[in-house]
Amino acid sequence: MTITKLYIDQDVVDFPETISIRSRLQVPSEIVTESGVVFNSVLTADDPILMGKKALYLTRNKGAFVKHCPGTRCYTCCGYQILHVGAYCHMDCAYCILQSYFHPPVLQYFVNHGDLMQALNRVFAQKCITRIGSGEFTDSLIWEFWTDLSSTLIPAFAGQEFCALELKTKTAAVEALKSLAHHHKTIVSWSLNTRQVIHNEERFTASLSARLEAAAKCASWGYPLAFHFDPLIIYDGCEKDYKGVVEQLFDRINPDRIVWISLGTLRFMPALKDIIQKRFPDSRIVYGEFVTGLDGKMRYFKPLRIEIYHHMVNWIRECAPDVLVYLCMEDDEVWAKSMGYIPADHGGLSRMLDERAAQCCNLSPEGLK
C-alpha cells in the first residue's frame, strides 16, 4: 500500500524525524493543529480502514512508550512488553485486530524519540530481563522505508545487557539492519503462514520465500531470529501446507539461530467478523468452528486447536528439537495435550522465555529474578 498523504501534528513539525520523513516520503503534506482533522478525513472515506493505511500521521506519543502486553488471566500470557513506536500498518491482513482496535485506525508514527529513549533507559535501568517488541500495534519493519527507527533502536539495545528487542514483521525490509551493531540484543522475527493464507488473507505482505530469505540474511548478520506461526488458520489441507512451511523454514534457517517459535491459532473479537466479511468478501476464515473464548474473543473449538498445535509441535521438534516452542494465549489443558507439559513445570512461560532470551541474546543472568 502506498502512502498518499502525510499529516503532521503542528507540535512536531520541527522534530528531526519529521523533517527526515518529509524529505523521504514525497507526498502532499498537511500540518494539523489537532488529531481530529486526520481522524475525520479518514472516517469520511468509503473504507476508513483502507484510508487509514494510506495516510501517515506524524505526531507525539502522549502516552507510555513501553506498555505491558494486554494479556488475560484466563490464558497463559508470555509477559511481553510492547514498545509503542507507532500504530497501525499499511499492509492489509484480513484477520488483523488493528482494523477494529483503533477508532478510527490511522497509520501513526511517533516522532518524539527523545521521550522514547528516556522510556527505554528507564527499562534498561531496572536491570531485569525484559522482552520488548514493537510489532504488536504495528509491524516493526514497515517504518524502514521512511525512517531510521531500527538504526535508533538496535544500537540502543546493543549498549545494555538486560533487555531484548524483538522486531516482528511480515516484510522483507531488512537491508538497513545489515551494518548495525546489535550485539545479539535484537531478535528479528517473522510471522509465517502458508502460501494460501499469505495469498488470500495477507495483502501487500512479503511472500513466504521473501520472508525466509530476509530471515536468512539477518541470520548471516548474526541476529538471533524468532518465528511466529500466528495465526494458524484451519482449512482443508492446512496440515500438509503448515508442514511444508515448517520444512521450508528449516531448509533455510539453522535452528541454532532461532530463539523461539510461537504458535497461536486464529482468534478475533466478534466485531472483527463483520469487518472481515465486508472488506474481504472472498475470505473464508471466519467460517471455522469458533466458540467464544474466556476472554470474549472467538477461538477455534479447543480440540481443533490442540490437534493443529500437536502436529506443529511434532513437525518443529523433528527438525529442531532444542528450539523453544510456546503457545500464545492458551490454557494448561491445551499446553498439556499439545506440548506434553505445562509452563508451570518450567517456572512459568514468562520465565522460560526470559531464560531463553538471556541465553540467546547474551543478556546478563543477573537480570533473571
Binding site: 473464508r284 467460517y287 468452528e289 467464544t292 473449538f301
Partner: protein, 336 residues
C-alpha cells in the same frame, strides 16, 4: 413544482394547487391502470369497496394525470378497479394538468393515502420511495414526510425505503406477519430467488424472528464455508427430506432443520456435545443430579449439581457419585 408556500407547511399553497387540478368526467377506457408508479396501497381486495360504490356512488374521486393521450393514476387505484368491476364506463375524477411535475404527483399520491388511513410498512416504504425518487434534497424529503404523517427519521427512512424494492412475495410475507421488518432487511443481501425460498421456508415453519435469523446465518455460512450456492443448499435433498416429512409437525421440522444445519456448520462441536450428552445419559443420573460441562468445552471447570431435601436423600446420591467417578469414559473425557 409550484413555489408558493402557506408559511407553515412545506406543501405549496392551496391556491396554487387549485390551479393545477380540475374535476372532470373521464372515460375509464382512457385510464391506464397498468402504470403503478404512484401506487401506494397494498390492498388488492376490492369486493367491499365495489359494494360500497355500487350502493353510494364514488364519493371521493380518484386523482389522475393527463399524460399524452391517456390518464395515469395518481391515487385511487382500488376505486378505479372497483368501478371497472362494476362495469362503469365513465367516472368523475380530479385531473392534474399535464405539466404538473412528478414531485407534486408524488405528494398527491402519498397524501391521499396517508391522510385517509394508517399505512402499513410496505405502503410507507412506497411513500418514501416516491419521495426520494422525486425530491433530491434530503432535508425537504424529511419535512414532507413529517407533513404527510410518515416517520421522519433519516435512518428509519433509509431502512424502510428498501422494503418496496423486495419481491412481492417477500412484501406479502411482511404484511401477513410471516417475517419481520428486520428479517426482510436481512433478505435484501440475497438474490431474489434465495430471499423468496427463505420466506417460503419461514412461512412453512412459522418460527420466530430469532430462529429465522439463526437459520439465515446457518444457511449462509454453510454455503460460504462449503463454497456451494446458497440456493442449492436450500433445496438439497437432506433439507427437503425434513421439510417434506409428513410425519413431522412444523415445530419438529423447525427443530430438525436447525439441528441438521448446526451439525453441518459446526460438525466437531456438535459431535462433542452429542458425545457428552450420550455419556451423561449412560450414567443414569436421574433428576437429582446434573453434570454440566464448561460452556463450549472452552473452560476446564465442570459442574456437578446435586439436589436433595434430606440427609437420607443425600446418602442415596452417594452411589450415583461413585458411579460418576468410576466411569472410565467420563475419565477419558475430562482433562487430566
Amino acid at each position: 413544482m409550484v413555489s408558493e408556500s402557506d408559511g407553515h407547511s412545506q406543501f405549496p399553497a392551496k391556491r396554487s394547487f387549485s390551479q393545477l387540478i380540475r374535476s372532470q368526467r373521464i372515460s375509464l377506457s382512457a385510464v391506464n391502470s397498468e402504470d403503478k408508479t404512484y401506487c401506494i396501497t397494498t390492498d388488492t381486495d376490492i369486493r367491499a369497496l365495489a359494494a360500497s360504490i355500487q350502493q353510494l356512488g364514488l364519493i371521493h374521486p380518484p386523482v389522475l394525470k393527463h399524460l399524452h393521450s391517456e390518464y395515469i393514476i395518481i391515487s385511487g387505484f382500488r376505486r378505479i378497479a372497483a368501478c371497472r368491476q362494476l362495469g362503469w364506463s365513465e367516472i368523475s375524477a380530479s385531473v392534474l394538468r399535464p405539466d404538473v411535475d412528478n414531485e407534486t404527483c408524488a405528494l398527491y399520491a402519498i397524501a391521499d393515502n396517508s391522510h385517509q388511513r394508517p399505512l402499513n410498512i410496505v405502503e410507507i416504504s412506497r411513500s418514501f420511495f416516491l419521495l426520494s425518487a422525486n425530491i433530491s434534497d434530503q432535508t425537504r424529503q424529511l419535512m414532507y414526510a413529517s407533513d404527510l404523517g410518515l416517520p421522519a427519521h433519516r435512518d428509519h427512512i433509509k431502512k424502510i425505503e428498501k422494503i418496496c424494492r423486495l419481491p412481492g412475495r417477500i412484501q406479502d410475507a411482511i404484511l401477513n406477519g410471516a417475517i419481520s421488518f428486520a428479517i426482510a432487511l436481512e433478505l435484501l443481501k440475497f438474490e431474489t430467488d434465495i430471499g423468496i425460498d427463505l420466506v417460503k421456508l419461514f412461512d412453512q415453519l412459522k418460527i420466530g424472528v430469532n430462529k429465522q435469523r439463526e437459520l439465515i446465518l446457518l444457511f449462509e455460512e454453510i454455503a460460504l464455508r462449503e463454497k456451494i450456492p446458497l440456493r442449492a443448499l436450500l433445496n438439497e435433498a437432506d433439507v427437503r427430506h425434513i421439510l417434506d416429512d409428513a410425519e413431522l409437525d412444523r415445530v419438529q421440522k423447525g427443530r430438525r432443520i436447525k439441528q441438521y444445519l448446526r451439525s453441518r456448520r459446526f460438525p466437531l462441536i456438535i459431535n462433542t456435545i452429542t458425545k457428552f450428552e450420550n455419556l451423561v445419559s449412560t450414567l443414569k443420573l436421574g433428576d437429582s443430579v446434573k453434570l454440566i460441562p464448561p460452556k463450549d468445552f472452552e473452560g476446564t471447570t465442570y459442574t456437578l449439581r446435586l439436589q436433595f431435601r434430606s440427609h437420607a436423600e443425600l446418602s442415596e446420591l452417594q452411589s450415583t457419585l461413585d458411579n460418576i467417578i468410576r466411569n472410565r469414559d467420563l475419565k477419558k473425557f475430562l482433562p487430566e
